[in-house]
């Protein structure tokens, strides 16, 4: 597979490490009343869709960017690659 890194251009997938569902960016609020349930879901529950999937890849043998890759799990077509940091900020994560 080839991942089109937003900063470095097309790179072979062997340079990356795969983590999984990009929902891992959405770490729950530890102070919430139901924090235990939210964290349980966050850590253990994943969707396993056929088709488009947003997932985290780490450019371990490269610039060490975490990327959010939108990949079709059926065809492996990659339609979007973003810096995870930008995605996290867009989802309201700051400090």
């Amino acid at each position: 597979m080839i991942i089109n890194h937003p900063l470095l251009g097309p790179r072979d997938a062997s340079e990356f490490t795969y983590l999984g569902d990009a929902s891992l960016i959405d770490r729950p609020d530890p102070e919430a009343d139901d924090a235990a349930k939210q964290f349980h879901d966050y850590v253990y529950l994943r969707d396993n869709p056929v088709g488009e999937h947003r997932e985290l890849w780490f450019h371990e043998h490269g610039d060490r960017s975490w990327l959010v890759v939108t990949r079709n799990t059926l065809t492996h077509e990659i339609t979007r690659v973003e810096l995870a940091k930008d995605v996290a900020i867009a989802r309201g994560r700051r400090r």
Binding site: M1, I2, A13, T17, L19, L24, I25, R27, P28, P30, E31, A35, A36, F39, H40, Y42, V43, Y44, L56, F58, E60, R64, S65, W66, L74, T75, H76, E77, I78, L83, A84, K85, V87, A88, I89, R93, R94, R95
Partner: protein, 983 residues
Amino acid sequence: MTQAFRLAKGGLVDRSQTLEFRFDGAAYNGHGGDTLASALLANGVRMVGRSFKYHRPRGIFSAGSEEPNALVELRRGARQEPNTRATMAELFGGLDARSQNYRGSLKYDLLAVNDLFSPFLSAGFYYKTFMWPKPFWEKLYEPAIRAAAGLGRLSREPDPDVYDKGYLHCDILVIGAGPSGLSAALTAGRAGVRVILADEDFRIGGRLNAETLGVNDMAGSDWADATRAELASMDNVRVMTRTTVFGAYDHGVYGAIERQTDHLPHSSGKPRQVLWRIYTRRAIVCAGATERSIAFPDNDRPGVMLAGGVRAYANRFAVGTGRSVSIFTNNDTGWRTASDLSAKGVPIAAIIDTREISPLAAPRGAAVVMGGRVTGTKGRHCVRSITLAGGQTIECDCLAVSGGWSPNVHLTCHQRGRPQWNEDIAAFTPGGDMPFGMRVAGAANGIYSLQNCLADGRETAVGILDEFGLNPPADDALTADEEAASISAFWHVREGKGRAFVDLQNDVTVKDIRLSHQEGFRSVEHLKRYSTLGMATDQGRTANVLGLAILAQASGKSIPETGTTIFRPPYTPVAIGAIAGRSRGKEFRSVRKTPGHRWAEKNGAKFVESGLWMRAQWFAREGETHWRQSCDREVRQTRASVGICDVTTLGKIDIQGRDAAEFVNRVYSNGFAKLPVGKCRYGLVLREDGLVMDDGTTARLGENHFVMTTTTANAVTVFRHLEFCRQCLWPGLDVHLISVTEQWAQAAIAGPNARKLLEKLVDPDHDISSDAFPFMACGEISVCGGVPTRLFRISFSGELAYEIAVPARYGNSLMAVLMQAGEEFGATPYGVEALNVMRIEKGHATGSELNGQTSARDLGLGRMMSDRKDYIGRVLSQREHLVREDGLKLVGFKPVDTAQELKAGAHFIAKGKEMTTENDEGWMTSVAWSPNLQTSIGLGFIERGDSRIGETVIAADPLREKSIEVEIVSPHFIDPEGERLRG
């Protein structure tokens, strides 16, 4: 030797070059341009092997990579290669080949007795027969089956050849250099895009070499030669012969194997084969089509061949495959084989066509039977005659069979494409869902006319150029001879006795397929696995469609309703050696050495792998013959005076930024926000699920500057985790990370004389007295007259100890200088064995305890989980089962009888209880011989361990048949108050 079956003239072999070769010990001659198969046929060698299951005599069946029968052992000694297709082995002088799969001799094979038992050896035979009695499987059935099974033999020696890997990039990869491929490559090449044209054959041209059809008023093979020359002259085109594109992978990446020296007597040190990874924008599959057979009784006898192969041997290799050839066909191309052979002077005995149509033009003297069927063959080691449905017998020594052509759709299926049935040509053609950027042209796409193949190749290339926004080059309007190719599907002859083979390589017959269906294996995938149809090294290239058609008939369904098997890489077998490439032996994976490696080597270190790292395990002194002697001495000397250990392999992460303290505080479970500058602290990193990921010491070198250490094993994982936290969870924190593991060489100096030793090296403006530099202090100092140094007063051994870090380039001399300074104290270097003994004596956890299943509370480190802040893993670490009072606790163990030795991995069972899972209370994680305590000691997890000190339990080890009584003790065997390390 005479080549009795070599035709007087013609062919694309070099008659001026005579090559001597051996087959089964006998010497023969062939010509340059021959394959082993064509040279054998030229010499009248008809029988070349025995079949896999029934050991029936088999001959050459085809002229290409689809060959199911003619598998031979090539070369001798370590270079011996089994299961080589004689049809793909290029002839060279001195080639030495042997037939396979028989006991005794090829002609009188003792295992041919299997053929007599064939009624018992039908589909599913193994599943049904060897079920009972159970113990017989391992001791009797399996060894007997293994001895009889298999085709060729391995040399059992290491492969002496070299294999390489390479990477190529192109705009268009053209797979196959037949008419469509040449036409496509020519169009793309002339347009100036980067083209790779790859073909598995050593000669460009494909069917143009095997047939007699002309292009542009030239002989087809001449046009192919001229085109190859034009392509070779273009800088933007790379023509690769002897190169099989075997797999289509994601995003336009292809795997190809190039056989660089297989056609030469010796590889002469050059890479034998190269595995290419080809990155493409587009690919055009011009892989052609493969002929298939018709199933009829005794259709496996040597001399029964595919008609297209017979035609190729005559036209390309100038070899007559018989003195008198008959044709059995369901389509027009069989007739063309007859006319080509006849034109070369090979007599045609008969043409039997299954169709009820008016006959095509037949050679003079050939009997023509329309609506005919071959119902049997005779001849011991080769066909002598055939019998027809009407009882008529025809003498002939070769029967050329054509059951139609199957497009080579393999690469189109390598992602998820499924071929679709095309009734007009009675074959599967590429369906949708093809790999990214792939197009198909010519016969692979079900287009059989030569003129249309040339046009299709060009049009496909033009279509791609259009997608690239490029103009196509001027059309030079290729014109070609035409031939008829109509077909009326006919699969198998029902009349006659004897077995009708479908899959020649795995000996699967029509009856086997019917039996599978009858026994409920009705899906194609089930049929395949039950009968082994298509599962041999040829992957059923000449058999699959035929098998499917017979299954369809048995189930009364159409072929599309019955389904199809799809294909996975590789298209043809790829040697494991080529996949390994240079990653063999020491080059299997990279090795990491610390800067002090050379010093350690010189000083008697024995090394052990720790991930990729090589770490000194112990340092053998003269007279020490057992590792325990060295290890015990290192431990005793360190605790008595001073020892030095290379700890460079620990992961080191440099953390800087205005929010560095906040960041560190969030990734450790214990507090770090208020750690003063110039201090270290031991910390625990949890995973978000609340279990321990890693531990280590982190030093605060400045207000906004920390250096974190990790265990050697988890260095990569922790760094990845920290980057995840930084980029994905808290992108607003001002903090930056970089791994500095390899930038700093680090050594531990431990023992009561550690400070005295260090003071000799530290430059005078730095005070490392206990008051100025107490336990857990850290600082940036200099040694040896200005070498920048980081000093940490931390202890893993439990002694007064320091870790000293210098830039990596000083690492090797650091070890030497430390040892020199330590000479007066009798300093000893120590390895990871002694390190391990001392940490067990001190009750420190490492990998065996931090195994990803244990919590901070299990480790006795519950107090390190802060309740004053959030940190990764906090919420889930409070789950019910992780905070239960009766959970596991890390404690120490001693054998009650100190003569006994503890074993890691033993499980704890209360005395008097049975050794069952229900009674399992925990397990031993680490053990060592303590030279200080003169007993075996261990660490382990046991339920409520902290409140059971003094109790005795059984450490059960039934696997090693050693279960002993052990006492639960404190995990701190030595200096529990920690007075030494504060000294």
